[in-house]
Symmetry: C2
Subunit: 298 residues, 2 copies
Amino acid sequence: MSAFKIALVQSRAHKEREENIKEAISSVGKASALGVNIVCLPELFLTRYFCQSEDTNCFDLAEPIPGPATHRLCVEAKKRGVFIICPLFERRASGVYHNSLVLIDPAGEISGIYRKMHIPDDPGYFEKFYFAPGDTGFSCFETGFAKIGTLICWDQWYPEAARIASLKGAEIIFYPTAIGWRTNEDERSKSTQLEAWKTVQRAHAISNGIYVAAVNRVGFEESGENGGGINFWGNSFVCDPQGTVICEASGKREEIILAEIDLRKLEETRRNWPFLRDRRIDAYSELRQRFIDNNPST
Amino acid sequence: MSAFKIALVQSRAHKEREENIKEAISSVGKASALGVNIVCLPELFLTRYFCQSEDTNCFDLAEPIPGPATHRLCVEAKKRGVFIICPLFERRASGVYHNSLVLIDPAGEISGIYRKMHIPDDPGYFEKFYFAPGDTGFSCFETGFAKIGTLICWDQWYPEAARIASLKGAEIIFYPTAIGWRTNEDERSKSTQLEAWKTVQRAHAISNGIYVAAVNRVGFEESGENGGGINFWGNSFVCDPQGTVICEASGKREEIILAEIDLRKLEETRRNWPFLRDRRIDAYSELRQRFIDNNPST
């Protein structure tokens, strides 16, 4: 099968976990009624974005894999006959937590797990406090429709991650995300950030000849400090292997957006832009260095 | 010094080599009169783009480094007190030719050489016939104004090249280029290609927090077959470390475009987007593989 449909669920996080999971299940139902084969939920969709502050009580929000959330989504995946990409705050052991996702297959089984490899830490995004760096590597999973790579948010800024997933065969990379503007950023800075976020992901599609699907949340969430917080910018989108955006969501509304994925387009693009053929794998060892000191030649 | 000026010389290649070198020297003079510190010429600017066909006679167009062209540009660099990035078809030995560039310093000396690492081969761009793959690695040169990376054309599609140059300290990457549309491509395909070309290079700026400067030629050059050929698309541009285009040329005219480079902007961008900090250098070894077979996990 070379063409099939995916759905990105752009949603707002409510305070109550139960409300979020019910909405997610409802969205999976709606998407499957529209003939979708793979549904992707946003990063950490079960909760508000708690990483705006460092609070040990927030570790209570984590759950194991398999666990309560994956159980309910496995039931739904089986009922609807769809794949679900389900991101969640994973409790792996006492003191070992991850920003993870599971791939649930149409039989209702967990068929893959990915743990966010690149962990940010910036004002308002204190993720290094909560999440141990992932140890899954950059995964690629077979769905029968396509091989899919699943990365999470901050990973989207790293061409290394997209490249390795592509070398493993990924034909689409999904990026569940929680990204927005902090209070008091100016309008110009906001549009620069949003444009950069789209550009860098479209470039992964181009340089690898793959589809890319980014799934963000929307809505303002308070940080608890002086009325500040993050306004999550939505703008979920799918682009094709030439980097052309084929569907996109608004910046403010909850939406389910659909895209048809055609692997013939991927084949055609890679025949005309054969970037993978000419990689200089003999010359890339320095990519494993943090920085290369004292290098300039003159 | 944290701010200085660069010039990109977008030019049309004439049939006569002497005319091309005279125009290049004239452009360097004009740019230096405008207070520019570094001038970049387009890929293979001394000749028409001979790679549209495979012809052993074309090896006569190559010249050694140092050689006649570098000699004249060294004289001009010293006279004007500027750096010149001078791309040329290099004859290194009988049967060993490269698509190269030299960095000439304001003292009139050759202070760096780069040999194109990624070599394309597509209809109309038969470069693998002419050019041995470079063996310089992805260089970074100190100019006193900034550390600069110098890559060439097809390299621009490879995030690996931009990353390694950045890890070596490059604060600007220059991409001398010869890219265009072949006869009979439709308008939609043309705009997709141009947009992808800009997007992937802007993404290198974003993911590395550097300036990027792409310098293309303009004009139609016949292939010698049925009136076909390549219409080189110009559109030379410079973008800042957030990927915002700060100057750009037209698609058809010969132009010298100038950009002010401010390394404080680079510092500020990397403080706010600290992508280099979080690279998973422990997990990138697979980047040295051509492809990773039989990987999908399910």
